[in-house]
Symmetry: C2
Subunit: 147 residues, 2 copies
């Protein structure tokens, strides 16, 4: 009798597996998860100040500095001076960084397809609907608790 506990367990299990898979893919490119987050954000934003990354990714400014340090050291990114505001540094993906980001995104897309494509459309639809309802319930719960 597959109850709610089972459903939750399976969800988490899939997430763990997918994340492990992504970590492996990242590692082969010399990236970690945190650094990849930064690289992806840059990839679809273009050159931005670190502050922008900090707020967008919910990561402390100090932390972004460290991650960008690492990305610079491994050649995914460069730091350029801002043309007018000398406080800010513009983090810019290198050619290599951009290509890596694109490749990884494509790989992730392929994975999603391999996992869900070809299933009866109504099953996938039900799956997504249940997920959406569960997410809504979750937000309700935490909204109630966070008071």
């Amino acid at each position: 009798m597959t109850g709610p506990d089972t459903a939750l367990d399976r969800t988490l299990e899939l997430a763990v597996l997918v994340n492990e898979d992504m970590d492996r893919a990242l590692a082969t490119d010399g990236l970690t998860r945190s650094r990849a987050h930064v690289l992806f954000e840059l990839h679809h934003r273009g050159p931005v100040p670190q502050r922008t990354l900090s707020t967008a990714l919910q990561v402390s400014a100090r932390n972004i500095t460290g991650l960008v340090d690492a990305l610079v050291a491994t050649g995914f990114v460069t730091r350029e001076p801002h043309p007018t505001d000398r406080r800010v540094v513009l983090v810019t993906p290198t050619e290599h960084g951009a290509r890596t980001a694109a490749t990884l995104a494509a790989g992730r897309h392929q994975l999603a397809s391999a996992l869900f494509d070809g299933m009866p459309a109504n099953r996938v639809a039900t799956y997504t609907e249940v997920l959406d309802e569960v997410l809504a319930r979750f937000r309700e719960l935490t909204a109630a608790t966070a008071r």
Copy 2:
């Protein structure tokens, strides 16, 4: 048109939220995720050598030593000598550790219920079935790749 990418994204999103919630719960008890894994394993196994934890949790022996160190320091666990084999140390949950583990498990169960209970049974069933199929596909993929 919610495609496979969307389905995967939602799945990961739910997992992230649930994990954050669990982390919060653990933190209020002075635990981290890794330490909690160890504590839970002990909770339903009783006193065992560290080696057992190491293999069961897929964590290096050295690492278990550190986690147990922390659990001892925070009073969730004690190290007892093995009666016959003087190499091994038996890690034993304290009363406090056992109670905490039970409470957290109950909380997790409640969360699962709050998220899924009361839904049409066939919807939850479909949800779980889709997940099972996706998990099966995933394992097929990685089995093919791992060669």
